[in-house]
Subunit: 188 residues, 2 copies
DNA sequence: TTTTCCGCTTAACATATGTGCAGTAAAGAC
DNA sequence: GTCTTTACTGCACATATGTTAAGCGGAAAA
């Protein structure tokens, strides 16, 4: 789990005692490519660290599969609303490649949530996520789909993008797959 | 300040002692209509409660004024990144009508941030804001501008919308003012 | 009051993206 | 390996939204 420790330490310092508690709360789990970690309608019962692999969060809207976001290791994730309120999730989470996660359940999580270092960690994470979401949101208002796609391929390494089917990139960008094809054709 | 107390108590319970500390941390400030509470480039030095009035958060992008969001009383606000890191703000905040706020400065805020009840309050607020931002973000991906406008006028009372100039509604929706005119013309 | 400016609308035309359909390539099933 | 399905591309046409330009009316300035 030392990848996880290194990840958390980017946000806060952890005493050895705290780390013992955190470490003991998580168990390892592996998924093949294209597996559902969470299915729409089910309750998200875990908080996760993504140690290895690539995830896609998506909604089914009027029968259409719309990508909300991708998550790249190392990071932490859960279906926020569903986990927090232990209610049926509106979104699904799937792996886009072989993936390794560490998970803790809702009950264990309550103990972590009482720890000072965990609170700092989570506060920073949700601020970071919110910053990112807001920035992305402004981009959608201001930039064309082509500009957003160009920015995407600038920012993310080819190694990661090559693992994401274009239909999911297009729904992430909010356009039809055919439109993404057209855009790609116009780019040198 | 009892409006503020009522507002916070929607998220957490406050002991009398805690309330004394909170209350003592905030001072009242009034703004006329169309005043800048925060200007792009300046550091946001306060955390606020909006007791009365209506705010617009906006970015200047290539000389264009783009609305990020509106805030309706009662709620709390600040320029999150700028306040948190005490760095120059990318965004501006202005009043769209006569407005009353309660403000606390960065130093005082550090004391609040150590309080248990404040931590609970802020955790819930940022979760709520993130939930809202994500939902809005999905809407932009899936709905046309016309659908988003219709939803907007369904959700918000006429009393509030009538205070928002259409050019700001259009940049909030991510479309040109002329396009919003056209959309409005097609709605009974 | 008169003048100026700004917000809003309208229209004509331009462009980006959607939609339906077909063909090919790639991936998964057997 | 072959078969079947799915992903991707390309095209023609449809639609939503952008852009430019003009005009109207009310609000602010003189």
């Amino acid at each position: 789990m030392h990848h996880i420790k290194t990840f958390i330490e980017k946000y806060t310092t952890i005493s050895n005692d705290d780390w013992e508690i955190i470490q003991a709360s998580f168990t390892k789990k592996a998924f093949d490519k294209n597996r559902l970690i969470l299915e729409e309608g089910k309750i998200c019962r875990h908080f996760y660290f993504l140690e290895n692999g690539l995830l896609r969060f998506f909604y089914n809207i009027d029968g259409e599969d719309i990508t909300k976001t991708f998550t790249i290791a190392p990071y932490c994730f859960t279906s926020r609303i569903s986990f927090r309120e232990q209610t049926a999730s509106q979104e699904s989470i799937e792996t886009l490649e072989k993936t390794v996660v560490w998970q803790t359940d809702f009950q264990q999580y309550q103990k972590l949530a009482k720890m000072e270092c965990w609170q700092v960690f989570m506060r920073k994470i949700i601020n970071e996520v919110q910053d990112f979401t807001e920035a992305h949101f402004m981009e959608v208002k201001v930039m064309t789909a082509e500009e957003r796609y160009k920015k995407l391929i600038e920012i993310y390494p080819h190694e990661i993008l090559s693992k994401i089917p274009l239909k999911h990139l297009s729904s992430f960008l909010g356009i039809a797959p055919q439109s993404l094809s057209r855009i790609r054709k116009n780019i040198p």
